[in-house]
Amino acid sequence: MDIPYTVQARPDTGLTNGKIAIWLFLASEVMLFGALFASYILIRTGAPSWPRGDTILNVPLATFNTIVLISSSVTMVMAWASLMRNRFGTFRIYMGATILLGGVFLVVKYFEYSHKFHDDLFPRTNNFLAIYFTLTGLHMLHVLGGMAVNAYLWGPGAKLWKTNPEWFRNRVEHSGLFWHFVDLVWIFLFPTLYLL
């Protein structure tokens, strides 16, 4: 099967199909998280009282997670840059680091969540926790999804480098765009939920 415009730019758009597709998908994701943010704003402004995030949530852990995710964004873009420099070995190292840092993020979230559950704090307990678990839970699923794609590109998907390196580079770039978006969402989630 010949998938068109994976490497060549389409003459009418000036871009590869994959590039447009991933940006359109990210636009839809902005609406998804935006809808939840808007819900958060509505619930919070309508509530008689609202706790400060740092009175319930673990700010040091979340700050650490913020640093982890930002670092993973750097390793992700360095993975792509390594492919641009034709350094496949270096790509594998940076991509591996990206996946690893994603894993660290998930482990920290596991500890955060289990600590909450241990203290009898569940989504059903109050509105603050409901929106906290929903927003961070959905974000966590996106981290998992991004890690899955990155793992494929690190592992079995890397075969494509031998037969069509430019197509593989584009795939890594597009996966990177999704990963940066996941980081971007957290950059807004962290102060909103934990610090305000």
Partner: protein
Amino acid sequence: MTTDHAADIDRHVRVYITVFIALMVLTIVTVAISRFHLPVHIAVTIALLVAIVKGSLVAGYFMHLVSEKKLIYAVLLVTVAFFIALMALPVLTVHNGYWIH
């Protein structure tokens, strides 16, 4: 993109490292400001401003938006317009409009 020479990629990498440092500093700033326990509306404004700067750095340099094609800008313009509408709607339903008390 594939016609980038080694020197171009080197320049890109230097930008990535600079942006990384900036993001780290801004993260520390975000947490530090929160310790001042400012009034909610000021705290929200500052937090959002810092987040927007951080987000712009990620979007502009890691996602290469500073050098993207017009079509992508057009898609994102529509996205931003609808996102603003999405944020404004709940704010406008409270007190019959945020700025009317």
